[in-house]
Amino acid sequence: MPKVRVLAFARLRELLGESREVALAEGATLRDLWSSLLAAEPRLQGLESGMRFACNQRLCADERTLHEGDEIALLPPFGGG
């Protein structure tokens, strides 16, 4: 059961808090992580539009398998500048 640290920003932070630890099934992917967050917080529905994931501070595809200690950042569309 890998445990990962999930960081959330902007709209997503408002629903999930800044940081939480999530335990996942062995071999779980980012897509699975999102499903489990969605199950716990239904108001996330729809917010995946334009959202990207970063694993250990690099953008990655949602098929990526997660490992113990990964830092997963949920990145809504950017608004800097």
Binding site: L7, F9, A10, R11, R13, S49, G50, A54, Q57, A73, L75, P76, P77, F78, G79, G80, G81
Partner: protein
């Protein structure tokens, strides 16, 4: 100098970080909180947040890209986070180069790319009490 800061930005200090005896042209861009939104609504202030480590890395990456075509350009980017009032500076980009054409091109590229790929978020706060997370890119048109 590639930083995410909470305190007010001193543009002079950012500029000082890139000045060099070989650089005759310095172009600075400051992004300032405007009193009204694009739709005209009165703004009371902004709140920025960032994934600071990723944002700094994206600034350095933008600088690396610039140096690939303009090796003499020196670049600094500082973005502020937290709550900002109208008139306060949210971001400063400074590019120094031997000649002005490169300094202009680099500063423009840096702020355009920052908006596209730095993990920074902006919440507009309106005088009427409403709030809205602003996205830099419109969703792509679907056929």
């Amino acid at each position: 100098m590639f930083e995410i800061v909470e305190a007010p930005i001193d543009p002079q200090a950012v500029e000082a970080a890139v000045r060099a005896p070989a650089c005759g042209g310095i172009v600075s861009f400051s992004g300032v909180v405007r009193e009204s939104a694009d739709d005209g609504r009165a703004v009371s202030g902004l709140r920025y947040e960032a994934h600071a480590a990723m944002a700094r890395a994206s600034f350095a990456e933008i600088a690396d890209e610039i140096r690939r075509t303009m090796p003499e350009v020196r670049l600094a980017i500082v973005h502020r986070i937290g709550e900002l009032a109208v008139g306060e500076i949210a971001v400063v980009v400074v590019a120094a180069a031997p000649h002005r054409a490169d300094a202009f091109a680099a500063a423009r590229y840096a702020i355009d790319e920052l908006k596209e790929r730095a993990p920074i978020w902006k919440e507009e706060r309106y005088r009427d009490g409403a709030r809205l997370w602003i996205e830099n890119r419109c969703g792509e048109m679907k056929p």
